[in-house]
Amino acid sequence: MTINTKKVMKNAWRITKDRNLTCLRLRVPGGHLPVKLLPLIQEIAERFGNGEVHLTTRQGFEIPAIPFEHMKEINVLLVPFLEELEVNIGVLLEQPAQGYPAAGTRNVVACIGNKVCTNAVFDTTALAKDIEKIIYPNNPHVKIAVTGCPNDCVKVHMHDIGIIGQVEPLYDAQRCINCQACVKNCAKVSTGALSIVNYKVKRDASRCIGCGECVLKCPTGAWTRGGQYYRVVVMGRTGKKNPRLAAPFLEWAEREAVLRLCNNLYDYIDKHIDCSLPKEHVGYILDRTGYPVFREEMLKGVELGPKAKTANYLDFAGYTYDKKCLFD
């Protein structure tokens, strides 16, 4: 058997531990799927695979145990899937009948967001789809995730770019009855940004993280939702060398700025990637170029908006696996 593994993998088919079998990877941007596409997954798994499907950590499907010879035929069957989930949201696919054109840039994941969750500050799937439109298809290994509030249920802190919803709470002192529910709750579950002065509430904007808890707790509607913004954390990762949580890069950034940023990431990678390696993960590129270069290139042409703030340094928390340091 002869196959070009690089081409196969780029086409979203896996090399697996069984020499004759591959595994199909399907992406679901924003993690929300119209169920009318489920029968297609079932059909492929039953006709070509072993009747099973794996739900991936990146909110995609992997259909295992498919003989390599069916790849072409299945790519044609996938057209409705690609049409619905990629073409319809604005992704440019030149030849949808040939399957996925790239696999390096991973599926954009999102928590369920304000479709269901009471905490969510915005529609996470909608933003994930807009990001997909900008970054896909692309080969560099990039992971982006979107979460509705600072609870970060989708773990954007393990991503190259993690986007966290923020809402600016607006206060109408006239409606406030000094019940202190907001003050107590902000201190308990969030950052203690609120205090009572003369029976009314003061918000310390420098502490507020825009979680919206005060709005949720206020019985009178004294707190309401103002503009939607985003906190962007960057260069979190797992991996065998130095797993770390993504560090805050921007806060109170506007939607357009976030989209522009995702676009700029690819220029930055392009410019600085070490081509001698089979692939280089963007976090390690940052380790080489340093933060000032990263910041300058990420923010090129980005209108941050009047409220946005940029981090002075990247405050990573992580560790190295190197046992010599840790255990010897």
Binding site: N114, T118, A120, V121, F122, D123, G165, V167, A173, Q174, R175, C176, I177, N178, C179, Q180, A181, N198, Y199, G212, V215, L216, K217, C218, P219, T220, G221, T224, R225, Q228
Partner: protein
């Protein structure tokens, strides 16, 4: 006298009314819901009849228009005080039959309870004219029919939207403007005769046995004492006072009056740190007794008007309607 208005004619009526009145109605407040990308039906000043939401019940009640959440009563300094000034304009408020009954309940406690009327309430209340919005059908949580509050005669005018035109029954025209802008036609307001739920209202609750009822323990374990049920209620009247001494010059300041709630911490705090009703179940019992027993004992009508707003607002899905019904059915059973 009845009148018919096209939208354009009603808007001209509003324009004329607005010369001397602020007109408040339930409107769709975009993005003002508690969850992101949700709206809220709440009271706001209107200039167009199209802004009035007829097909939903407002989340907050109309009482905030004439009994503000925060009201400055007077300002003081070391030499004396000066009273706050109220807006010269009158107020016209669109509201439902049950809401008008609730205004009558507020009047009882604020104007008729005790030797003198509440001056600060009265000076705004005297400016109020009510336009009743017909209820062509009942909303999910309403139980006004059980409370006997589904109808009213106490309004300046009624209004309903029917086949693209607005129909008003006018009892007391406001400066003759309804007659001037409308076209004469026979109109009688529509009120619901039944709700989706009916509630058995207890007739003669006995405090001692109610206090011993185990249901308060259950409610106490569910209620989080947030006070939403009382702040959305059209008939809750409780307030507290706040004296503010200005930071830059503590010899000057102001006295405000602000809504309060028997469900929220601090309501029963007294000198010496003593506090009644620390437990949420006891607070719920007190509220229920106020709504369907104590008030009636004093004024002859129940305080609760069955608008159902407290049911809609409770984050713990506690239903006052269900609670009243439970008490009513238990009472009937006990009587055999």
């Amino acid at each position: 006298m009845g009148y018919r208005f096209t939208a354009a004619a009603f808007n001209q009526l509003l324009e004329s009314l607005r010369e001397k009145y602020r007109v408040y109605a339930p409107t769709l407040l975009k993005g003002k819901g508690k969850f992101s990308d949700t709206d809220l039906v709440g009271y706001a000043e209107i200039s167009k009849i199209e802004d009035v939401v007829f097909n939903q019940k407002s989340y907050f009640s109309p009482k905030e228009t004439f009994y503000p959440v925060t009201q400055r009563l007077f300002y003081f300094n070391e030499n004396g005080f000066s009273e706050s000034v109220v807006d010269e304009k009158g107020m016209i408020v669109f509201l439902r039959a049950c809401d008008i009954q609730a205004v009558e309940r507020l009047d009882k406690i604020m104007l008729e309870n005790g030797p003198s009327a509440d001056y600060y309430y009265e000076r705004l209340r005297n400016k109020l004219k009510m336009i009743v919005m017909d209820c062509q059908e009942s909303f999910d949580s309403c139980f006004c029919v059980s409370m006997g509050t589904n109808k009213t005669e106490n309004y300046s005018a009624s209004v309903r939207l029917e086949n693209g035109v607005y129909l008003s029954d006018v009892k007391e025209d406001i400066e003759g403007l309804f007659a001037f802008h409308g076209e004469t036609i026979e109109v009688s307001p529509k009120f619901v005769e039944s709700n989706k739920q009916s509630v058995k209202v207890p007739e003669n609750l006995v405090l001692e046995s109610v206090a011993a009822n185990p249901i308060w323990e259950e409610y106490g374990s569910r209620c989080i004492a947030c006070g939403r049920c009382t702040v959305v209620c059209p008939s809750c009247s409780c307030y507290t006072m706040q004296d503010i001494f200005y930071d830059d010059n503590p010899k000057c300041g102001e006295r405000r009056r602000v809504w309060a709630s028997c469900q929220i911490d601090g309501f029963t705090d007294m000198a010496g740190g003593h506090s009644f009703r620390r437990n949420n179940g006891e607070r719920m019992r007190f509220k229920v007794m106020h709504k369907i027993k104590d008030f009636k004992q004093r004024f002859g009508v129940h305080m609760c008007v069955g608008c159902g707003r407290c049911d809609n607002a409770c984050p713990e899905y506690i239903s006052l309607a269900h609670c009243i019904d439970r008490l009513g059915k238990e009472e009937a059973e006990n009587r055999g």
